[in-house]
Symmetry: C2
Amino acid sequence: MPDLLTIGELSARSGVAPSALRYYERLGLIRADRTGGNQRRYARAELRRVAFIRISQQVGVSLDEIREALDSLPEARTPSPQDWARLSASWRSRLDERIRLLTKLRDDLDGCIGCGCLSLQRCTLNNPEDTLAGEGPGARLVLPRPTDDPTLAGALN
Amino acid sequence: MPDLLTIGELSARSGVAPSALRYYERLGLIRADRTGGNQRRYARAELRRVAFIRISQQVGVSLDEIREALDSLPEARTPSPQDWARLSASWRSRLDERIRLLTKLRDDLDGCIGCGCLSLQRCTLNNPEDTLAGEGPGARLVLPRPTDDPTLAGALN
DNA sequence: GTGTGAGTTGAAGTGGACTTCAACTCAAGG
DNA sequence: CCTTGAGTTGAAGTCCACTTCAACTCACAC
């Protein structure tokens, strides 16, 4: 027997609010069968999809990108462990990058706390990836706004 | 001479859009003098405030909290290096915590990628801080939604 | 059969952090 | 003086990820 879950059960098991689950469904991230009375019934496999969604969000991936990733799963069969492994692995570098940036920020901040400078010319915070525009006096920094995770800006004096 | 900056100059030097600078001013995060013609003129010290704001945002602090922190700066004098050091240090534990969570997520994900399980009972992803409600069968996880940085949820089977 | 808690919908609201717009005014070089 | 690029305002719009609401309908224990 399929042993289907109601939205309340899926919510309790996943820690995701029913309203969020309905929202995910609207976005095409999860799916549900319906009872004769039009209520949602989720296959247990959806639990894994929801888990993947929450993990991905933690990694900093938007629901839109998560949808794309989920779309790459086989439609016919229930995703295998390997399928999930592939998707999870695909976020790995993004996670690494986030951790790297945050760690760098911490180290830089420690250095700045030592000197109290808070992001000056001599401080790495100032120029995260050595991408300063070199023209004119004074440091400036262009934040990669579109890509989010804005590389830190800092400039003084 | 004070050597004041126009909004365009502050924007170029800080990497923050003029519209965002005006927005910060409305929220009381930065301040500006005005020319006879009502244009903003920023003291160079504001540059450090803007740097602090962007750094704080990276740490994951809201503008509202940043405002509170900035409010603790001395009103009379220009903030000293020690002032900035104190503020920067105050975010340190939050940064540590973010890094810790993200690193744990990475390790857990590596484990899950190995087995393809993706957040199951035997997987730590399932129960981030061993805070599972112990009642009934099946894992469940309550996300600390209000505090943001949602501890990961996962449940399977 | 009935009561009650769980579920349904579309539309609208929320919150954070900004951006865009229209309609002007300023500042500075030629 | 005149032009032009930079700056001003308040109001409204945007994006994301949801939540809330009202008005119903279902499912199930008793």
